[in-house]
């Protein structure tokens, strides 16, 4: 065994490859100007530039186009025939908040209690999660880490996925508060056992929603008065929400819930984003009219009802697109985020263009999360958050990332999975 191990290490040394998860390092700040050339550039706003180049320096994109002048000291990377995309953003995720779903000790995404606006997901974000490296390699470069919970779960933050610690990772700190609206649905027929009391659950749901409203009303009053003998941290945590520096993400799916979500705009003037919205296709005009954006639940889902179009979850994105609702596409969970672009690919197959589908995981997401000034598309002045793929990034046949840059830093595309792959290719003598 020992001999075997020695051989293995020798082999590693020989190939000169870094083969341990712990030695995958966050990249250092961009030093030289980098130019990527001869690529198809998918800007993220619908525009496609054939045989184009992109230049970035000091972490910012400086030029994008068919004819970009190259400077002498720039590092030129010829990505002939490849495709360049904005880094993909995973909204409403628990990346870095959990490592092994079934092991309680690794779960840091849900606090106890109903009203926790002061809870912050960012400080639990684990930059050393082994999952993170498996996302970058597919082109996911940013994520919104989001606390779950009962009613008000706390604030989310946007992180970039290549960092030493959460402080470095923070891309937009405390971008919004999250409200998990209780379900407004009467109980179903049970398969077994007695029928639960019919009205209690809905009544309880309405009471809970009213508790949240009452809480916001008191918070608003508290904030209006500057001086307090006793500080209320929960109310304090809502200042940015009332000043619209934060958004209110309301997690809900069915029409009644979304109608009440719209009312939160009207009563409190919040900037409301619906997270989930699986039935949003039933009321796109209302959403549009009230400027409600939607972080759409994953298209790879079963229809809500047996009568629904079998493809309804695939089609919802295109229906929102057509109605002019600002939306982006999300995926459940943490490790699952690596399939986010395929969710967008499916949405494209069912009624929208590939570039629109790309926007739904890049620029639209950035707009909704309030980070579109710095990312979401490949435009001069924005951060150089860039993924280069040998083919169509939305299709698993051709999603093959050769380079990825976060704020101009070329990040490692290595990960635990590749390492285990190499280890066992070695075992079986496979090339």
């Amino acid at each position: 065994m020992k001999k075997y191990l020695t051989l293995y290490i020798t082999c590693l040394a020989f190939t000169g490859r870094v083969l341990a998860q712990e030695t995958i390092y966050p990249a250092a700040a961009q030093q030289k100007t980098i130019v990527l050339t001869h690529a198809t550039i998918h800007v993220g706003n619908g525009q496609v530039i054939e045989n184009g180049s992109i230049t970035f320096a000091n972490g910012k994109i400086t030029a994008v186009g068919a004819d970009v002048p190259s400077s002498a000291d720039a590092q030129v990377i010829d990505v002939q025939g490849q495709h360049i995309y904005p880094g993909i953003i995973a909204p409403a995720s628990d990346v870095g908040l959990t490592e092994v779903e079934s092991v309680r000790a690794t779960n840091d995404y849900e606090e106890v209690g109903e009203l926790n606006p002061s809870v912050r997901a960012l400080i639990a974000y684990n930059t050393d999660s082994k999952v993170i490296n498996t996302l970058r390699v597919n082109g996911i470069l940013l994520a919104q880490v989001t606390p779950a919970g009962d009613l008000l779960s706390g604030s989310s933050s946007v992180v970039q996925l290549d960092a030493w610690n959460w402080e470095d990772a923070a891309y937009k700190t405390d971008d919004g508060q999250h409200f998990f609206m209780p379900q407004l649905l009467p109980p179903s027929n049970p398969f077994r056992g007695p029928q639960p009391p019919a009205n209690d659950r809905e009544k309880e749901a309405y009471e809970k929603i009213e508790r949240v409203r009452a809480f916001f009303r008191e918070a608003r009053a508290y904030i209006q008065e500057g001086k307090h003998t006793e500080t209320n941290l929960k109310f304090e945590a809502l200042r940015k929400l009332f000043s619209k520096e934060q958004k209110l993400y309301i997690h809900c799916n069915i029409v009644k819930e979304m109608l009440l979500a719209v009312d939160f705009v009207k009563e409190f003037g919040f900037e409301v984003v619906i997270v989930g919205g699986s039935d949003a296709w039933m009321m796109p005009d209302i959403l549009k009219q009230n400027n409600i954006a939607v972080i759409l639940a994953q298209p790879h889902s079963l229809p809500t009802m047996q009568d629904d179009d079998v493809d309804q979850p695939y089609k919802t994105a295109a229906q929102l697109q057509k109605a002019g609702v600002l939306f982006c596409i999300s995926n459940e969970g943490f490790w699952q985020q690596r399939n986010l672009m395929f969710e967008a690919g499916t949405a494209s197959a069912y009624g929208m263009s590939k570039e629109e589908a790309l926007s739904a995981i890049t620029l639209n997401t950035a707009k909704i999360l309030g980070i579109d000034k710095t990312t979401g598309s490949l435009e001069p002045g924005k951060d150089a958050n860039i993924a280069v793929s040998t083919g169509d990034i939305l299709d698993m046949r051709s999603n093959n990332i050769t380079h990825a840059f976060i704020q101009g830093r070329e990040v490692s595309l290595d990960n635990k999975h590749k390492q285990l792959y190499e280890r066992y290719k070695y075992k079986y003598g496979l090339k």
């Binding site: 079934s102 079998v310 490790w335 698993m396 999975h417 285990l420």
Partner: protein
């Protein structure tokens, strides 16, 4: 020859009139003799053991009901007839029967007499049983908690004897009598085997007097009821337990010494000669019960669930008799569109069609009776019978189903069911024909005792009377209306002046003005003595008068305004019974020619461009260029791709009420085949993703799970027809965290095994027992669990084993080697890449996820390159779903291996077509496009491995089961039907009918780790 029967007074029993062996002449003589004895009423005095507190009050209770219309049974109506009863029994019924001198005569002129109803599915007089709250999070209970020398399983309650626990319950009896019932077969509705039922009357009397037959039936269900024992935890477990109990009981007949005394099995054996009644929860349960009955030579009487009309042909084929409930669903309150969204068309349709069930059974010639079981209020019973009649049931069958049929089914025709001499004096007196809308039940006589249901109207005072006031004038008054609600009119030459008439007991009061415009009222109060009424009153001026009224003319009711039967305009039955079902079960297999497609053959010739494929008689007939169409349906495949149908090696769709038995570490006796759910919408959804066959597995909650079932997605077929013919049987095994209950919470720390070490021992022990069992000689107790394991040892059943980490994979290979069999397939197998060489040497295949990981500890080393490595090492590798959502895009999952490890597109496609076919030993039938193989193909809009590909047509056995064009038409049909039914429900609400709050329709969805009522899966499940 059937002996004539007669009631033997004083004994409470029927007897053969003459002993067999007498000559015909002698018989006749004896018959008359007995008849004389009967009529004379001189028979032995009844005696009883119960002491009397006070003065004895013996009565013979002889009554004669005269001038009645007697319906002895459906089809035998006697006009102006007399019914004579004595001592709780019928003495005679007919026109011109002799009225005994000691009879109390009751004039029933204008009234009808019917046999009281018999309900053979009742829990009357038993204690309601609380359902077990035993959940998957409670600490396990391995054995029965029943005290006494009973069997091992608490849900087998064959020792329960309803007669011994029965206690009369007058309030309940009253509601049943008011609904028309005279006798019920009652049993304790608890458990899988529920013991015996007792036939009792609903008289308000002592238990021993109302009991007609102590053991009249044996009762069964699939529901474990109050049992807190874990096993069985699923429907398939209930079925296995029933089957094993039949076998155990057979074996117990020889008093095996090791078993000792087992009173449950003893009772079970004793009860087998009784009528066997089986309660089901669903139409498909009927076929499940039928299958058990066939295996053990039992014909059950089925207590139906109410949705059997959806599959009448299958119901008729069981040859069973049915007890049909009448608890039709109420309309729902669908006013709020955002609530109505959550009620599926299937539930709306069921609301409309449920009342057609009895009529549909009649039409199909299926014997049935009716029960009040399940009604919230027994007052609904008769109106629901009438509703069933409006929906197609004939009145004659309705009466049979309430009287004669139930009596015959429990072999109690000698006691109840008709008004023949000798039977119990259980009968109804009504105002008119029983099923007419306004007919009133006046009295229900049970065992010769009168129970008044409606006093009003018993005395029909309608008619014309001559009213004489003294002092004063004479008037003609007319009493009209109905017997229950009479009304009064004063006839004054041309005028008819209305007044009021109120009857109270035998008292009457009349009030009316004397002229049309009169404001003053004449008030009379009196007593009715037969046709003569008299009393006192005050005239319009306030003067005292005496009065009498004499009957002058009978009332002639106005001719029935022939009530036009409402045009029902009912919805069609769909197969399956939901929005995407077909309107027929007979789908036509047709010859199909797909022209000019890119054909992925999965054969040596690989991918063929511009190629035609001909499917004839359900099989692939030809693959080539420019094939002649002949009579075939031509489908243009230009620019499209044709692949073999997708085969999902690991699926849990189309399974009902539990995917895991999981309550013991070894449950090889349970079978997914027993619990197929052909109505599962996920069959259709998966067809839309190109899936044509699914291997339905037991879950992974225990080491040796259940037997699996391979199906073809023949949407609309019943369970038998879904099954893939000619496959090798498989069984699910599982290793690791699930079977050692690592993630089940702190309460689950006692079931063996709790470690991978223990998992090994479970396997070693099970196969050792199986080997020893096989060697045992004749007379051994047949053990269904070990039978399945012996099949594995004999290479007749094959294993697909849920497994993750390399140590356990290695372990199972060692166990298999030790016992001389091969592990056919490792499923999930996320660390297969670590031991691919060992798997190859052993001969195992792999069926894995494309890229799942991190969801639990044992998948920390799962990598998306797993499939590629295993394939490159030389294993047969499939990609499976274990998930109803992922299954409809298995092509995409396969394509991930192109990304992770660079597999070729053709090899990737094989992972969801040919390779699973190989793993399932069906690659001679499916998995590639080759002449002779089944016509299971998919036409894709694009390269099937592309994210942009859509299955446009999915064909199974040459039948197009999914087609995008047809699908669009179905959306339209669903919308139209929903609207019609919702409008109908709204109309119902507007009419003032009671409506229920909406209940969202919920579809069953299972995955590997689910216990019953387990995980949450969707919006309507999220509670």
């Amino acid at each position: 020859m059937e002996q004539p029967l007669a009631y033997v007074p004083g004994t409470g029993r029927m007897s053969h009139l003459v002993p067999p062996g007498l000559t015909r002449r002698k018989r006749t003589k004896v018959f008359y003799l007995l008849l004389v004895v009967l009529l004379a009423g001189s028979y032995a005095k009844a005696q009883e053991t119960f002491p009397i507190n006070g003065v004895a009050d013996p009565r013979e209770g002889c009554y004669a009901f005269t001038h009645a219309t007697i319906v002895k049974e459906a089809g035998s109506t006697l006009q102006d007839a007399t019914l004579v009863i004595r001592d709780g029994r019928i003495i005679s019924a007919g026109p011109g029967v002799v009225i005994p001198k000691d009879a109390v005569v009751v004039d029933c002129k204008g009234k009808y007499i019917y046999p009281s109803f018999v309900d053979i599915y009742s829990d009357y007089g038993t204690q309601p049983v609380k359902k077990s709250s035993q959940g998957f999070r409670s600490p396990p209970q391995f054995l029965s908690n029943t005290k006494g020398a009973f069997g091992w399983n608490e849900a087998i309650k064959s020792e329960i004897n309803a007669a011994a626990i029965f206690k009369t319950d007058e309030p309940k009896a009253k509601t049943l009598r008011q609904a028309g019932f005279g006798a019920v077969l009652t049993h304790q509705q608890d458990g899988i085997a529920r013991g015996t039922g007792a036939l009792v009357t609903l008289a308000a009397d002592r238990e021993n007097k109302v009991m007609v037959r102590e053991k009249a039936s044996a009762q069964y269900s699939f529901d474990k009821g109050s049992s807190t024992q874990n096993y069985p935890g699923s429907l398939m477990g209930s079925i296995a337990l029933l089957r094993q109990t039949y076998l155990d009981a057979q074996w117990y007949k020889n008093h095996p010494s090791k078993e000792g005394i087992n009173l449950s099995l003893q009772s079970w054996n004793d009860e087998q000669t009784l009528p066997q009644v089986f309660e089901v929860n669903d139409k498909w349960d009927v076929l499940r019960a039928k299958k058990i009955g066939d295996e053990f030579g039992v014909q059950y009487i089925i207590k139906a669930a109410g949705n059997e009309y959806q599959r009448v042909a299958e119901m008729a084929a069981t040859k069973a008799a049915f007890i049909l409930p009448l608890n039709f669903p109420a309309a729902m309150d669908v006013e709020d569109i955002n609530d109505a969204r959550f009620v599926a068309l299937s539930d709306l349709k069921h609301w409309e069609l449920a009342p057609t069930e009895p009529g549909a059974f009649e039409k199909a010639g299926i014997p049935f009776c009716l029960t009040a079981a399940g009604l919230k209020d027994n007052k609904q019973f008769l109106s629901n019978v009438r509703k069933a009649i409006d929906y197609g049931l004939s009145e004659q069958k309705a009466l049979d189903a309430l009287t004669k049929v139930p009596a015959a089914l429990i072999k109690a025709s000698d006691q109840v069911g008709t008004l023949d001499a000798g039977k119990l004096a259980n009968f109804l007196i009504t105002s008119g024909p029983l099923f007419k809308e306004n007919t009133v039940l006046y009295q229900n006589w049970v065992q010769g005792k009168r129970y008044i249901i409606n006093e009003d109207g018993w005395m029909d005072v309608r008619g014309t009377y001559t009213l004489t006031l003294s002092p004063g004038a004479t008037y003609n008054i007319l009493v009209k209306g109905t017997p229950v609600a009479p009304s009064l009119a004063l006839l004054q030459q041309a005028d008819t002046i209305s007044g009021t008439i109120v009857l109270e007991d035998k008292l009457v009061r009349l009030a009316f003005p004397l002229t049309k415009k009169g404001t003053r009222t004449l008030r009379l109060s009196g007593v009715i003595s037969g046709d003569a009424w008299n009393g006192n009153g005050l005239d319009t001026s306030g003067n005292t008068v005496k009065w009498n009224a004499a009957f002058s003319k009978a009332f002639v009711p106005p001719a029935d305004s022939a009530k036009k039967k409402a045009d029902l305009d009912l919805t069609k039955i769909y197969y399956p019974f939901n929005g995407y079902g077909w309107e027929t079960t007979k789908l036509q297999q047709q010859d199909i020619l797909i022209k000019n497609a890119t054909v992925w053959t999965n054969e040596q010739q690989g991918k063929l461009e511009n190629t035609d494929v001909l499917i004839r008689a359900g099989k692939i007939a030809q693959v080539g260029k420019s094939l002649p169409a002949g009579n075939a349906l031509v489908i243009d495949g230009t620019g499209k791709h044709l692949t073999p149908g997708i085969i999902d090696e690991h699926s849990h769709i189309a399974i009902t009420r539990g995917v895991n038995e999981g309550t013991q570490s070894v449950t090889s006796e349970v079978r997914i085949a027993d619990v197929l759910n052909p109505d599962d919408i996920n069959i259709y959804r998966q067809l839309s993703g190109g899936v044509t066959s699914s291997h339905l597995l037991h879950g992974s909650a225990n080491t040796i799970g259940g037997q699996t079932q391979l199906i073809k997605l023949r949407w609309g077929a019943n369970a038998e027809d879904l099954k893939f013919a000619g496959w090798d049987p498989f069984i699910k095994f599982a290793l690791g965290e699930n079977v050692k209950q690592s993630n089940w919470g702190e309460s689950q720390r006692t079931r063996f095994p709790q470690t991978r070490m223990g998992v090994d021992q479970v396997l070693d022990d099970a196969f050792t027992r199986a080997r020893d069992y096989e060697k045992q000689g004749p007379g051994k107790r047949r053990d269904l669990e070990l039978d399945a394991l012996v099949e594995i040892l004999n290479h007749k059943r094959f294993i697909t084993c849920h497994s993750y980490v390399q140590s356990e994979i290695n372990m199972l290979i060692h166990e298999a080697d030790k016992f001389g069999f091969t592990v056919n397939t490792f499923t999930h197998i996320l660390e297969g890449y670590k031991v691919a060489d060992k798997m190859k040497k052993h001969g195992a295949g792999a069926s894995t996820f494309a890229d799942w990981w991190a969801y639990k500890m044992e998948v920390q080393d799962a990598i998306p390159y797993n499939a590629t490595i295993m394939q490159r090492v030389g294993l047969t590798v499939a990609i499976n779903s274990d998930d109803a959502e992922m299954a409809r895009r298995l092509n995409q999952e396969a394509a991930k291996s192109i990304k992770y490890g660079g597999m070729t597109e053709e090899d990737a496609l094989k992972m969801v077509t040919l390779n699973p076919a190989k793993l399932l030993h069906i690659s001679d039938k499916v998995g590639s496009i080759k002449p002779g193989k089944d016509g299971d193909v998919v036409l894709w809009s694009d390269d099937p491995l592309s994210i942009y590909a859509k299955a446009e047509k999915t064909i199974v056995d040459g039948v197009v089961y999914f087609d995008r064009q047809h699908d669009a038409e179905l959306h339209q049909r669903i919308a139209t039907e929903r609207n019609r039914l919702i409008q109908k429900m709204l109309a119902e609400k507007k009419k003032g009918s009671p409506v229920d709050k909406i209940k969202p329709t919920r579809d069953e969805l299972w995955n590997c780790e689910d216990m019953e009522s387990g995980h949450q899966h969707g919006t309507t499940d999220n509670q």
